[in-house]
């Protein structure tokens, strides 16, 4: 806090001697500042270490990778690794597949989780608590546990029993859809609020909705809006922050999802799956073992690039709006 000084034109500016206490206070704040920066920078270094490693490796050429004296800084930088990575990942196809399956599914999930969470937050009905505990349980159980039954569910998909009913009328009670190899395997669970990590998103939304002041909704009710209209017109617009947050989380998780993708899709695989197979793909491109690290690093960077770009664009809004309103009431 700057001390305000009266500036009298013409008068001599006296250099005020700082009292001992003030010196102490200043050194203390300088020390605190230094300590803060040291802490943040060292923690930041640890956090960014993988990114540094990736960048350092990705521009190393073949000679660098074979040279034992090269540790971080490349002597002969080249972008050859990126070319190999692009081919190895089948980047454009993989990217479009990831966007079509992952990103779309992520956005569907963002909306459906909000709907479900609003139900949990604002309405009292029997079983609210129990069902909500179930929500948390879905987030804890990893997908591998239910992978094969889930796969069979999609392979012999009977539209929740409806096709069985309808087919029974027409004489073929075993009529099923085969949904494997279609993005519907991701869209459907997301649509119903049980997509990837949906449990967590419902939880986040619910905490947020609980913290919203009731006056907003009551005003809408007085104006004669039903709950659905209220939800759309009032709640959603004021949830900007949490929607952005959940979207970012959701897109990132869908981008990284590879277990279910391998299970459901036979061909035309998303980027994450290509990345897990990058070693064997590089080998078939002719890249030898010793030089694969550079190519792998380049592949990882290419993989993360769209997410990083999205983050850079959204982070200002994200961080600042987190500033203003806060996620949790």
């Amino acid at each position: 806090m700057a001390k305000e000084k009266l500036i009298i034109p013409g008068a001599q500016q006296t250099k005020s001697k700082l009292s001992k206490y003030q010196v102490q206070k200043q050194t203390k704040s300088v020390l605190v500042s230094i300590f803060r920066y040291v802490l943040l920078i060292s923690v930041g270094y640890i956090i960014l270490y993988p990114l540094f490693a990736l960048i350092a490796y990705s521009i190393m050429s073949r000679t660098d990778l074979l040279d034992p004296s090269v540790v971080w800084i490349s002597k002969t930088p080249s972008f050859n690794n990126f070319k190999n990575a692009w081919l190895g990942l089948d980047y454009l196809n993989g990217l479009s597949r990831t966007v079509i399956v992952g990103v779309v599914s992520a956005f569907i999930e963002v909306i459906s989780c909000a709907v479900a969470a609003y139900g949990f937050a604002r309405f009292k009905f029997k079983g609210n608590g129990f069902l909500f505990a179930l929500v948390l349980f879905t987030a804890i159980v990893p997908v591998q546990v239910i992978a094969i039954p889930l796969y069979l569910n999609f392979r012999f998909f009977n539209l929740f029993g409806l096709t069985g009913l309808i087919g029974g009328i027409f004489g073929n009670p075993e009529f099923v859809f085969d949904l494997t190899n279609t993005p519907l395997t991701f869209y459907l669970p997301s649509l119903f609020g049980v997509g990837l990590r949906s449990g967590l998103f419902i939880f986040i939304y619910r905490q947020f909705f609980l913290g919203l002041p009731k006056e907003l909704e009551e005003a809408a009710y007085i104006d004669g809006a039903g709950p659905l209209k209220t939800f759309l017109r009032v709640i959603i617009p004021s949830s900007g922050v949490v929607i952005v947050t959940v979207s970012i989380f959701s897109v990132i998780w869908h981008w990284n999802e590879y277990f279910l993708s391998v299970l459901y899709f036979n061909d035309n695989l998303p980027l994450s799956v290509s990345l897990t197979q990058i070693n064997s793909r590089l080998s078939s491109l002719g890249v030898t073992f010793e030089t694969q690290q550079g190519n792998m690093a380049a592949a990882c960077l290419l993989f993360m690039l769209p997410m990083l770009i999205m983050y850079i664009f959204l982070q200002r809004k994200f961080i600042q709006s987190v500033d203003r309103v806060g996620i949790v009431g």
């Binding site: 029993g161 009913l165 299970l263």
Partner: protein, 493 residues
């Protein structure tokens, strides 16, 4: 009033009633016998018989509705044959070819393999669809495909992480007539590793790079050894019958003393010990049981003696375990004991070699033992199976016969030099003694990476302490052997 209440009641619980109805019908087992019948009608097994004169007849087991029969000229007496003959590719019927086959792999094809697949497609008109799945999900994917009635036809079992579990549970027994199992081209050693209760679950062909890349060998560069003052090369020692553990030890020692670099590096140290012919666990395919060899006193003695060789090397600082194939090519180690995968120049193990003579000068010898005449060639299981419920078993048989055949993958031209070729042919010959290194897979079946721990402890122990280490791990090995036996006895019907 009453009806309005009733309507309210119904509408309140309508959703619930509908949900229960859907739940009930959804829970009904889908994909039941009816579906099976549907498939069986179209895709039943055909038996293509090769008549002595080379013509074929197609014999079907059940009635088919529609679907052309394929008689490639000539009919004759229908005798089922158990050998392939030389013109086998032409005996493939067009019905079989039309179905196409689905191959499931956990790695992509090499150039030679790819060429084989493409020439197969050209020759037979049979489309080959390949799905590559990361190895961390290979089993899950295979299981889900089988459960979903989309079983692949050809399943790549060539990694011991999938043995014995996946091999005996997801694959169907190979039929003697479809696969002509009596043909001499099949590698009985390999196929016995996946045989239980008289049924074979995987196929392998002798001498092919694809199946035989897990025999253990010792690689070295003559120029590197010569520079270290070694006058007789291991290859010459082998040729004159003098290649054994002591000879290898001496070479490693000389190399280390001259250059201060590691004398010999290992991919898996247990290969060095298993060349004595007795590993920690043996699999007897005749009565489908695993045995813990530590229970037998004389076998235990052989094992202790074999592992003390590694101890000897380790305590003299002469050996290390390493993945790094490039070190050999830089002259940073004297010899490298690893799998025969590197003999295939397409796999480019020695792509960046800086020693004089280049990659082409690399030489190999078999793994030594106490004496050359008592040496066994250690190998791991590598076979190709046919999944349960596969739709084109016949096509799979033809494909495997063709694909695994060394002649079709340009193998003759892929050796680095004639010495490599000679040694490779020696170790894959049917007459050479071989020993199946199943201990790793059996122990790791129960506890992942446990065998690596045992191997490390054994290698790093002093010679006198090996007995103690073995005794301490005896219960682990016994428990793993029991679990493996339980698996085979309960799951192989």
């Amino acid at each position: 009033m009453k009806t309005r209440n009733l309507a309210k009641f119904l509408s309140k619980y309508f959703a619930l009633i509908l949900a229960m109805v859907m739940l009930f019908t959804a829970c009904a087992p889908a994909g039941d016998i009816d579906d099976d019948d549907e498939y069986e009608e179209e895709y039943e097994e055909e038996v293509v018989v090769t008549n002595p004169d080379g013509t074929t007849t197609t014999v079907k087991q059940t009635t088919e509705n529609g679907g052309g029969t394929a008689n490639n000229g000539g009919s004759g007496s229908s005798t089922k044959s158990t050998t392939w003959g030389s013109n086998y590719i032409k005996t493939m019927s067009s019905t079989v070819a039309k179905k196409g086959i689905h191959v499931l792999m956990w790695r992509s094809y090499s150039k030679g393999e790819k060429a084989a697949v493409e020439s197969f497609q050209k020759l037979t008109g049979c489309k080959v669809r390949t799905t590559v799945v990361p190895s961390g999900q290979y089993g899950t994917k295979l299981q889900s495909l089988i459960a979903g009635k989309d079983s692949p036809d050809v399943v790549c079992l060539d990694s011991d992480q999938y043995w014995p579990g996946l091999a005996v549970q997801s694959c169907q027994p190979l039929d003697k007539y479809t696969f002509r199992l009596d043909d001499s081209v099949w590698n009985k050693n390999q196929m016995n590793t996946v045989t239980a209760k008289g049924k074979t679950f995987g196929a392998a062909i002798t001498g092919s790079f694809i199946n035989e890349d897990i025999n253990y060998l010792v690689y070295y560069f003559p120029s590197v050894l010569k520079q270290a003052g070694i006058t007789t090369m291991p290859y010459d020692l082998w040729k004159s019958g003098k290649w054994n553990w002591d000879a290898a030890y001496n070479i490693a020692k000389t190399f280390y003393e001259k250059t201060k670099k590691t004398g010999i590096e290992f991919l898996d140290r247990d290969a060095w010990a298993d060349s004595c012919g007795t590993g920690l666990v043996t699999y007897d395919y005749k009565n489908s049981t695993f045995t813990n060899n530590l229970a037998n006193a004389s076998k235990k003695k052989t094992i202790v003696n074999a592992w003390s060789q590694i101890s000897k090397l380790q305590s003299a600082n002469l050996c290390k375990e390493s993945f790094d194939t490039a070190k050999l090519g830089r002259g940073d180690c004297g010899m490298y004991c690893s799998i025969s995968y590197g003999v295939n120049s397409e796999n480019d193990w020695f792509g960046s070699v800086s020693v004089s003579g280049g990659a082409k000068s690399v030489e190999v010898v078999p793994v030594p033992a106490a004496s050359q005449s008592s040496a066994y060639v250690p190998y791991r299981s590598k076979t190709w199976g046919v999944a349960k419920g596969a739709k084109n078993v016949e096509g799979a048989a033809y494909f495997l016969r063709y694909y695994l055949d060394p002649a079709n993958t340009n193998q003759e031209n892929l050796y680095y030099n004639s010495k490599c070729k000679e040694v490779f042919k020696y170790i894959t010959a049917a007459s050479t003694k071989k020993t199946f290194m199943c201990a790793q897979s059996v122990v790791n079946y129960q506890t992942k990476a446990k065998f690596e721990e045992i191997r490390n402890k054994l290698s790093e122990a002093q010679s006198s302490a090996i007995q103690t280490v073995l005794d301490s791990y005896n219960p682990t090995i016994t428990s793993a052997v029991n679990a493996a036996n339980k698996l085979v006895s309960t799951r192989v019907k």
